[in-house]
């Protein structure tokens, strides 16, 4: 579906007409990202992060394919192929490797801001529930892929990350340990695990790209949301995607890539962990074992169960960690407020920021060494995370008095300009 005023695709050149009648790919692009896709005119910069996520997926696929040409996926050769061959011997190898390594972190930064945008502006609400859920599928695939990619250099953190994360499965009674051995192809991470992780690490980005197409397809049925959360009513509310939003996305992507370049060139190891420059040693665990920063909040939830209660503490931790993400699939039905945007929801807004702070605290606890205080803080923050989504959010959406919504997107835009003019 598109709005009735969307510009129709009318090829003029005979070659384009010929192609359009046989394989209408230009028509598809024109309608999806060209003048044929009308977009609400009031989008703020938070709406740039979807395109930016696509940019980082592309960077990761391109640098990854090139790195795979030099990487050796054997337990004996992997560490040296990354740290000797790629980092020192391959022409521009150091740049490609650092770009890929930091690209993963920046991909997560971008996706976290994208999810934050969705949570604040109610992007998960009807009619965009499937857009939200497909986004979560992408996020889960990204996490699986980031984990497997982190194992490939076969350093200490790679090895022990593989050990701990596959250890999650051993928490399940009876079937858990056989599943773990089956996943690893051995009793501890070794050659079999490394090779299959490499194979899947190469595959999953293309699966992600496929789900991204579904995500965009589902988005383009109702069209993009906007910061007021008010539906598009007529042509005055929208601008064609091209040239308006291609230009804005282009300028913003360039600016954001500048930060990425700064980190990649001047602090390439800032987001990593020095222990991963020690070759994997199955007989010694690093003293302070932590996952990459983007997993910290989940790691904190995992560690916050310390007592057996009906089920073993370890199983509770694993279940809680998985359900902290799975519950987001139910968000469209947990928050049933008809008002989408947090801007017009005063009570929701307060609790929203509390939840953001809560996740930051979980991140801090997950990344720091264990202490009695931090364990207690993590337990409190983990409990509040579930309380927010399962109790507070449904109650807020039921009892909250929302602020009056603008009559239309164009009114909200012009209204602002009107007051600015009188104030000036």
């Amino acid at each position: 579906m598109s709005f009735s005023w969307a510009k129709p695709y009318e090829p003029k050149h005979p070659a384009m007409k010929w192609l359009d009648e046989r394989l209408p790919i230009p028509r598809l692009v024109y309608g999806a990202t060209g003048p044929g896709y009308p977009v609400p005119r009031n989008l703020n910069y938070f709406w740039n992060f979807g395109v930016l996520a696509g940019v980082f997926l592309t960077i990761q696929i391109v640098t990854g394919i090139v790195l795979a040409m030099h990487y050796v996926s054997t337990a004996d050769g992997a560490f040296n192929s990354v740290n000797q061959l790629i980092m020192r011997d391959v022409n521009a190898g150091w740049l490609l490797r650092y770009a890929h390594m930091n690209g993963a972190s920046f991909f997560f930064i971008v996706v976290y801001i994208h999810i934050f945008r969705g949570l604040y502006y109610g992007s998960y609400k009807p009619p965009r529930e499937l857009v939200w859920m497909l986004g979560l599928v992408i996020y889960l695939l990204m996490m699986a892929n980031a984990f497997m990619g982190y194992v490939l250099p076969w350093g200490q953190m790679s090895y022990w990350g593989a050990q701990v994360i596959t250890g999650f499965f051993s928490a399940f009674p009876l079937v858990g340990e056989p599943i773990r051995v089956w996943l690893l192809g051995g009793y501890a991470p070794d050659q079999a695990a490394l090779t299959r992780f490499f194979s899947l690490h190469y595959l999953l980005p293309f699966v992600i790209a496929g789900v991204v197409i579904l995500h965009i397809w589902a988005l383009h049925i109702p069209g993009s949301g906007n910061p007021t959360g008010v539906d598009v009513k007529d042509e005055k509310d929208t601008l064609p995607f091209h040239p308006y939003f291609t230009a804005k996305d282009g300028w913003f992507s360039a600016s954001f890539l500048l930060i990425y370049a700064l980190v990649t060139f001047y602090a390439p190891n800032y987001l990593g962990h020095p222990d991963n420059y020690i070759p994997a040693n199955p007989l010694a665990t690093p003293a302070h074992i932590v996952p990459e920063w983007y997993f910290w909040p989940f790691y904190a939830i995992l560690r916050s169960f310390t007592l057996d209660f009906i089920l073993p503490a370890k199983l509770w931790g694993v279940l809680a960690m998985f359900s902290s993400i799975l519950l987001l699939f139910f968000l469209p039905w947990l928050d049933k407020s008809p008002v989408r945007s947090g801007t017009y929801r005063p009570l929701f807004k307060r609790f929203f920021w509390l939840m953001v702070i809560d996740v930051l605290i979980l991140g801090y606890v997950g990344g720091a060494p264990i202490s009695a205080f931090r364990t207690a803080l993590g337990q409190f923050a983990a409990a509040y995370y579930f309380l927010h989504f399962l109790v507070i959010l449904p109650l807020v959406s039921k009892f909250e008095t929302t602020l009056p919504l603008p009559n239309s997107i164009s009114e909200s835009v012009l209204g602002k300009r009107g007051t600015m003019a009188t104030a000036g």
């Binding site: 009793y187 501890a188 070794d190 199955p282 057996d308 503490a313 370890k314």
Partner: protein
């Protein structure tokens, strides 16, 4: 009877001669789809079993260790199936400490006798794999932190094991696993079977 042939009705009819409603085409559909389904499942089997430990991994399933040099109070770390193994020669004091604990106080109740071979209560042989998330606990090497119960201490999430390598405190659900092993001579242990 002309209807029978033209409508493709099977030979089955009710007592009054009315067709029972099962057409030959239904049967063909069910048969074809079932056959394809069984075939697909059968084709999945090699794709699934190829993930399980391969013959070369399973070939590492026994390890022989010479324990003649391990003095009481000492221990060594060795490897079996690419996993660390702790072999510890307990002192009489450590054995007494392990036996002094009442089984009802334990998360995973097992006596030291159950975790060692008869007459070899001083030889504590366990996997060096924390039952929480698989880190290697400290305490086997000289001068390493043995934790407050004198056994092992896992630096990852703070699980503490006693002198029989039983879980006493922290998130790990089980005692350190005792692998299958036998004494092939008074000073040689074969781990695995």
């Amino acid at each position: 009877m002309a209807t029978k042939a033209s409508a493709g009705v099977t030979g089955e009819t009710g007592g009054d001669g009315v067709p029972s409603g099962v057409r030959r085409r239904d049967f063909l559909n069910v048969a074809a789809v079932s056959f394809a389904g069984v075939g697909t499942v059968a084709a999945l089997a090699p794709l699934i079993v190829q993930m399980s430990p391969s013959a070369d991994v399973l070939a590492l399933s026994t390890t022989e260790v010479d324990i003649s040099k391990i003095q009481p109070g000492q221990g060594i770390k060795t490897q079996w199936r690419k996993q660390p193994i702790f072999i510890r020669n307990l002192t009489p004091k450590e054995i007494a400490e392990a036996n002094a604990v009442s089984l009802s106080d334990l998360r995973d109740p097992q006596s030291l006798a159950e975790r060692t071979k008869p007459g070899k209560a001083n030889w504590l042989i366990t996997l060096g794999v924390c039952t929480h998330l698989g880190c290697v606990p400290l305490g086997i090497g000289e001068g390493e932190n043995k934790g407050p119960y004198g056994g092992y201490f896992c630096p990852c999430h703070g699980s503490m094991y006693d002198t029989a390598a039983r879980i006493r405190q922290g998130p790990a659900p089980k005692n350190l696993e005792v692998p299958e092993y036998k004494f092939t001579s008074p000073t040689t242990v074969q781990i695995g079977s």
